[in-house]
């Protein structure tokens, strides 16, 4: 098998989504199948998510293979999410990937989840060197490529924006997933309630905002002086203004000609509108990753695996252990100059 042709099977397993993507070495996504764990109540309990993934991973792999009209024999590379994420869940992805790799004697590569988000965005939006705003349930990162790394210019100091919105939705009694529901509610109000706005240089903090909003919901004035719509509106406006300000600062600092918006929260129309407005002010090209590839998915793992395999070859089995706390700015990017 030549190095520039083949099929890669990518396994994404960092949190609630178990996803398998099949991508060819030129970057065409042939198959992609997701299986998402939805908690009956509360948040993600790592042990429960792990049990769910163990029960369901086989069908997801088979469905993806079927969609790509191929079998395990046609696969020439296995990629899996190696870092960062919830330990027990990462371990299942790594285990299945090692198993497949050894059973079928296929090379294996580990992939950093955050870098995969940027790489699939670059592929899908046909963009060369963007500043990336990556906002999801687990991460809030402003990153750009500089001196051989995806450097982190700004990030959350505590919880992520998606995590905060989900927790508020839960406190308000909205069912999972909370983000789209909060967005819908927010669109119905224009009444702004003042909330804490915390920006430290290019870093952000959302925990104070969360507490303030929870206090609003738990207060006896809730439903009298203001409604859930007002709270959702104020929450979105404050949180997204913080993101927008930091993004603008990073844009002015790095002078990148392009901006990429990705992650699950990128689906929010109000956030898109704000970031787009900043890009127009700075004459920056604005791209948002299509929803299918903005959230966690196996195709991004497969594609980033291909990039690493092409420049460095496969990993030794002893280098495939998971790394739940790896920072993306620690990892070299040999496929970019």
């Amino acid at each position: 098998m030549k190095k520039d042709e083949g099929l890669c099977l990518g396994i994404e397993s960092t949190a609630h989504t178990w996803s398998v993507g099949i991508v060819d070495f030129s970057g065409n996504v042939l198959g992609l199948h997701n299986n998402m764990y939805i908690p009956e109540e509360g948040g993600l309990h790592p042990a429960l998510v792990r049990e769910y993934h163990i029960l369901n991973f086989k069908d997801t792999i088979l469905n993806a293979l079927q969609e790509a009209k191929c079998s395990m024999k046609d696969i020439s590379l296995i990629a899996f999410s190696q870092s960062p994420g919830l330990g027990p869940i990462l371990r299942i992805g790594a285990l299945v990937a090692r198993l497949l790799s050894q059973l079928y004697e296929i090379p294996i590569v580990g992939v950093n989840h955050c870098i995969a988000h940027i790489e699939i965005g670059r592929l899908m939006c046909n963009i060369e060197d963007p500043l990336t705003l990556y906002v999801s349930g687990g991460n809030t990162i402003i990153s750009a490529h500089e001196s051989g790394r995806y450097q982190i210019f700004g990030e959350t100091l505590d919880i992520s924006i998606g995590n905060m919105i989900d927790m508020i939705a839960r406190d308000a009694g909205l069912a999972h997933p909370g983000g789209p529901k909060i967005e819908k509610l927010a669109a119905k109000s224009e009444k702004y309630i003042s909330l804490p706005y915390v920006v430290k240089g290019m870093d952000l903090s959302f925990s104070g905002l969360y507490t303030a909003v929870r206090n609003l919901i738990e207060s006896s004035d809730f439903g009298k002086n203001y409604t859930i719509e007002d709270v959702a509106h104020s929450l979105q406006e404050t949180g997204f203004s913080m993101l927008a300000e930091v993004t603008e600062r990073a844009l002015a600092h790095t002078n990148k000609p392009e901006l990429l918006l990705t992650g699950g929260v990128a689906a929010n129309k109000r956030l898109q509108q704000m970031i787009k407005s900043i890009c127009e002010d700075h004459g920056t090209r604005y791209e948002v990753v299509p929803l299918k590839f903005a959230g966690d998915n196996g195709a991004m793992i497969a594609w980033t695996g291909i990039l690493r395999y092409k420049s460095e070859g496969g990993f030794e089995l002893s280098h495939t252990n998971i790394n739940p706390k790896e920072r993306m700015d620690n990892i070299s990017i040999p496929w970019r100059k």
């Binding site: 990030e155 100091l157 702004y192 430290k200 240089g201 404050t238 600092h253 970031i275 407005s277 920072r327």
Partner: protein, 225 residues
Amino acid sequence: MEDINIIKGKVLHKGAEASLIHGFWFGKEVIFKQRYPKNYRIEPIDKQLRVTRTLNEARALIKVKTYGLNVPQVFEIDINTSTIIMKFIEGKKLKDLLFVLDDKKKSKYFYTIGEFIAKLHQNGHIHGDITTSNIIITPNEDVFLIDFGLHEYSDSVEDKSVDLHLLKRVLISSHGADFKKCFIAFKKGYLSNYDLNGSNEGKYIIQNIKSIESRGRYVKQEERK
């Protein structure tokens, strides 16, 4: 601000938050620091941020000036346009100078900056954005600190350490090769001015930087200790 005594010239710098405009105010050479409205955010947030940050910055500049530290003098504030009119400081940004200075000069400047920040901290001021772009070296080799937009009042060791941690991060990411000697000189200057009357607070503040670093996201277990 329609006044023949106020002349606005060219825009020197357009930052993410404010623009710096060169000009004259009653014959004095000044900078107009103007925070423009941002149309991406709703009006209540926009107005509140611009007004509070303008007032906060002006107050801090005036207060810090009274300790005899080198910061631009404030002449006038216009809340309606969120503009501060302040003295123009001639000189170069330390960020651009660092590449041409010799080691002795670098240490000298960072020692002075250390003394400067110690005095600020002792009086309960947190600058919030100590970067090499916010330090100006005048032709007389005086050190000026500018941009108090993120200024806060605090007496806690934690806040002061965070302030220094930001400087450390900037030095590592933008001036990696010079980081060690610059930061050592900085710490010397800082301690020499902070722990004057036998207190140990300056030392605690510097020690606490390590603890802040270990609290970052995705720091490995062994580095936390």
